[in-house]
């Protein structure tokens, strides 16, 4: 019998704790596959954040460190500086990366730390039950914006890739989505490229992945995929915001 598809060996057999229709599982798979394909499982160290993916250390089948809320890039910096041939990535949500951990994000980027950040943007705090995130859309109803996110009171959503692309320390910043098969394929290519950059010593790479949260959006999984496309993509356009090596013809 020929094996045509199997679960990545870089994922454990632990049952995922994510809600039905949540796209964390897909993103975990893309990360695991990329690390296996680049042959760096034995050097990989992942950083689990605080948030829905806090238990990522149970799901990835290589060394993992669990960081305080927002501090994953600082923890990653410590690991990478201590053992430079490790392949280090953080896996962070929007609250972790773009609210409480903004300083760690920006400064690891501006230092050009040779790490990968997988930034899962679902425009809401999932773990705590659906509060406004820095990336929540204008008008979006959440537990803490019951009348919708108002510019006058809560300001505007943060566009992380666009912001980081202005920093000289950043090698690569791309936004992808996992709402369709073609987009999942593109997301895989971006994530793999980010890890390849680290293997090649090119420096800081971030892949922002637009993701769904059917539970806290109050939608079915199928509706959530549509909501991502119709509402998030206009605010968070997909694409490469920075690719320093490509620009410099390397």
């Amino acid at each position: 019998m020929q094996v045509v598809y199997q679960k990545s060996p870089a994922l454990t057999d632990a049952t995922l704790n994510y809600c039905p229709g949540c796209t964390h599982g897909i993103i975990h798979k893309l990360v695991a596959e990329s690390i296996v394909e680049l042959g760096v499982v034995d050097r990989a160290v992942g950083i689990a954040p605080v948030g829905c993916s806090v238990l990522a250390y149970e799901f990835f089948n290589f060394d993992m460190v669990q960081a305080p809320h927002g501090r994953a890039p600082a923890v990653a910096t410590g690991i990478k500086r201590a053992v430079p041939d490790t392949i280090v990535f953080t896996y962070q949500g929007d609250g972790d990366l773009a609210a409480i951990g903004t300083a760690e994000t920006i400064h690891s980027a501006t230092r050009g730390e040779n790490i990968v950040i997988i930034f899962v943007n679902n425009a809401i705090y999932g773990m705590t039950g659906g509060q406004m995130a820095p990336t929540s859309l204008v008008g979006q109803v959440t537990q803490t914006t019951p009348y919708g996110r108002a510019i006058s009171a809560q300001g505007y959503p943060v566009r992380v890739c666009e912001m980081l692309a202005t920093l000289d320390g950043v090698e690569y910043a791309e936004r992808v989505a996992v709402n369709s098969i073609p987009n999942i394929r593109k997301a895989k290519a971006a994530i793999k490229k980010a890890f390849q950059n680290q293997v090649d010593g090119k420096g800081f790479s971030i892949v922002e992945v637009l993701s769904t949260c059917p539970t806290n959006w109050g939608l079915t999984p199928a509706e959530a995929l549509d909501w991502l496309k119709d509402n998030m993509m206009p605010v968070y356009p997909l694409g490469v915001f920075k690719d320093r090596s490509a620009r410099e013809g390397k």
Binding site: V41, D42, R43, A44, V45, I47, A48, V54, L55, Y57, F60, N61, F62, D63, M64, V65, Q66, A67, P68, R71, A74, V75, A76, T77, G78, I79, K80, R81, A82, V83, D85, T86, I87, A103, E104, I106, H107
Partner: protein, 353 residues
């Protein structure tokens, strides 16, 4: 022969850390400890080490967490307000059973306080340097030489007991220059099979973690840690005693305060007053048995601190309230003078007659 040099406390402690095998230092500028970072920034690049000036105290302690998780000797240093910022990370490091060394060159507080020497972070260091049930080891050296020697002990005990160690100094010790000898110690670092630094085809995955969602699992992790704390309490309490054999008045003071008290004790002895000094070297675990045994023969206990009196409660507990314990101190960056302490001694000794 051991190498001898005239050095500022902050620089001596940095050099000692390097000699103790620390190659990863993460800092952030704050008076009066900035010389530690400045020294590290000069030395580390020359020996293949890492000095990184972090974006905040919060980031610095989390870089220490990462480096310690990867299995290397890592250190950060700060002064009082900065330690408050590090407290989140210290709790996580303790809960992840990671070793590291944290230096606090204390200044006056609360808030932004001042930049002159103080000892008002005693309670923070020994009782609550972060949320949750945990302790860290706390050493309180009183000379530049002792700061140097303490660094080696700190790293060794951090590794052995897998817990953070704080060296609690103050602006006086950090800024003063004294002759120091760097001990010729062959540093051996233990294997760290738990470190998250890549499986390397040799083992299964390692997880460095502080999350336990099952209450019974969390309780058992905390209890396991407290067994190591009991081991620390059995093995580590240290105090220096001075002229306590016949002392009717025993003064308890640590760090820079103890040096001032020592001068006052000598002056009082010249006046025929039977007074002695106990200088706790470990603040956690607290040398309560040493204090209790000596206090049995004393009539009065006096605690002298550069604070409003934070160690005084631990001294009362140590003597089980069997003897009157009084307090003298200054706070806010004022260093008590030997003359002031002598007046206190005379007052208590006179009153006791």
């Amino acid at each position: 022969m051991a190498e001898r040099a005239l050095m500022k406390g902050n620089e001596a402690i940095a050099e000692a850390a390097i000699r103790a095998g620390c190659r990863h230092f993460f800092g952030y500028p704050i008076t009066p400890q900035t010389e530690v970072s400045a020294y590290m920034s000069k030395r580390m690049p020359k020996i293949g080490g890492t000095f990184l000036q972090a974006e905040s105290e919060v980031a610095a302690i989390n870089m220490v967490l990462g480096a310690a998780a990867a299995g290397v000797r890592a250190m950060t240093s700060s002064s009082s307000p900065g330690i408050s910022l590090k407290s989140e990370g210290i709790s996580y490091i303790a809960a992840s059973d990671l070793p590291c060394v944290i230096l606090n060159i204390q200044r006056g507080g609360p808030g932004l306080g001042g930049i002159q020497p103080a000892q008002s972070d005693y309670n923070q260091a020994t009782k609550a340097v972060g949320h949750g049930d945990f302790h860290i080891l706390v050493y309180a050296p009183s000379t530049v030489q002792e700061m140097v020697n303490t660094v080696f002990k700190a790293f060794d005990n951090a590794d052995r007991l897998r817990m953070p160690v704080m060296i609690l100094g103050d602006g006086l010790l950090g800024q003063m220059m004294e002759p120091v000898e760097f001990p010729e110690i062959e540093v051996t670092q233990p294997d760290k099979p738990w470190a998250a630094n890549g499986m390397r085809g040799k083992r299964g995955k390692n997880i460095v973690n502080s999350l336990y969602l099952q209450p019974d699992k969390l309780e058992s992790m905390v209890k396991g840690r407290f067994e190591r704390y009991e081991q620390a309490k059995r093995e580590l309490p240290e105090a220096e005693t001075y002229l306590t054999d016949d002392a009717e008045l025993v003064i308890v003071a640590y760090g820079a305060s103890a040096r001032i008290v020592r001068s006052a004790v000598e002056s009082a002895r010249e006046l025929g007053i039977k007074v002695g000094l106990i200088r706790p070297i470990t603040l956690w675990p607290f040398p309560d048995k040493i204090i209790r045994d000596i206090a049995k023969n004393a009539k009065n206990i006096l605690v002298v601190e550069m604070s409003m009196g934070q160690m005084v409660d631990d001294v009362r507990l140590a003597v089980e309230c069997a003897k009157p314990v009084s307090f003298f101190g200054h706070t806010g960056g004022i260093v008590p003078t030997p003359a002031e302490v002598l007046e206190q001694i005379k007052g208590i000794a006179g009153g006791a007659k």
